[in-house]
Subunit: 220 residues, 2 copies
């Protein structure tokens, strides 16, 4: 089983310190929600984000959305060979059941995430998504992988195809991809740092390279 | 050069016959636009879509968005080996310059598409995106590929890895992927039909499989 963790993702509710900011209040009103119940989104809360630490990288649920759509609709996942986790900057972990059919529409995805943060599981009956307070290291310990790879622009260069070959030699590899737009991991992550290209790649590009080369090495 | 065409995409402005439908009027007002200037979106115009032919598959700009984000941020594109085109159900073709950095946010992407349909090029100076009236066959003729592959669930099965090997043996292959949620191509497309998996795949999954295996076969 290949485990994929989107780590230090910039996915969170609007922080308390800016719930009264006009950009947040107006946005929440437009969506018919309370300001403290909406997901932080840099596209709409840009002016409020300037007041926050790390404001230039926060509020990026779109990155999580695209990574998850690619991972869940991959052949690896259809073959039952993949487990996906989303770890957030506030040390929460979202467990995603492999059969989850995520909303393709971004605004519906935001609504789902807001419901998840509020109710901790969605939907109530099937529990396709579940969120728990957990650090990245606690998640790693829980998964118990035989090896941990941290995708990192400063890591050892490996051709994506060769990395796929490495993955299929293992029983339970864990691949950690940063769910943020730029900068470095906030979590202290132990593992072998790997870089797939000479330039930084978007998180979803790394997800695609890892999954497709994993499948190819399996002969799928 | 690998040419990738997302074909018969369900990307269009709201058709004239439903511009007065309440679902469309309210949506346009919320977004501060005229009803005839907004992109059809099944998430919001569902009730209006029931009145349209093919209503159950139309209004899917999200599929185009995700396919383009994956293609433009791929290693193949960063290496200058890819050209991407979006052909729509109304026989328009969008030319996308490889250096385009598409909005990650879906709502901003919709705004960009609305601007493109109105002004025919965006932005005015760089002309990163350009739209022209053109059928899929006219686009194929213009590209002049040495071989055309139509990704199709009823096509000849080929492992994605083997398909990548076929692509790199050619000078100017064209891969056509359907930009619709289900059903068949509306355009009459000539080419070798290829299937990468025993079940239907989402359009963006096919894009990822094609591009990553193309790169791997090149030894990138």
């Amino acid at each position: 089983m290949l485990h994929l963790a989107i780590a230090d993702s910039e996915l969170e509710l609007v922080p308390k310190s800016i719930v009264e900011h006009p950009a947040v209040v107006n946005y929440a009103r437009r969506r018919g929600k309370k300001p403290e119940e909406v997901i932080l989104d840099s596209s709409y809360h840009h002016s409020a984000l300037r007041k926050l630490e790390d404001g230039e990288r926060r509020g990026r649920p779109d990155i999580v959305h695209i990574c998850l759509l690619n991972a869940l609709e991959s052949i690896a996942n259809k073959e039952g060979l993949l487990r996906v986790y989303v770890h957030t900057r506030n040390d929460e972990v979202i467990y995603v059941k492999p059969e989850t059919r995520l909303p393709r529409n971004y605004n519906r995805f935001l609504g789902l995430m807001e419901s998840l943060f509020k109710n901790r599981v969605v939907p109530k009956d099937l529990e396709l998504l579940r969120i728990e307070e957990k650090t990245l290291n606690e998640l790693v310990e829980e998964i118990g992988p035989d090896e941990v790879f941290v995708m990192h622009e400063g890591g050892e260069f490996m051709k994506p195809r060769d990395f796929g070959k490495v993955l299929v030699e293992l029983e339970n590899p864990l691949v950690i991809v940063g769910g943020f737009p730029h900068g470095d991991f906030r979590s202290q992550v132990k593992g072998k740092k790997v870089s797939l290209y000479r330039e930084p790649l978007m998180a979803w590009t790394v997800v695609n390279e890892v999954l497709v080369n994993f499948e190819a090495s399996l002969g799928l």
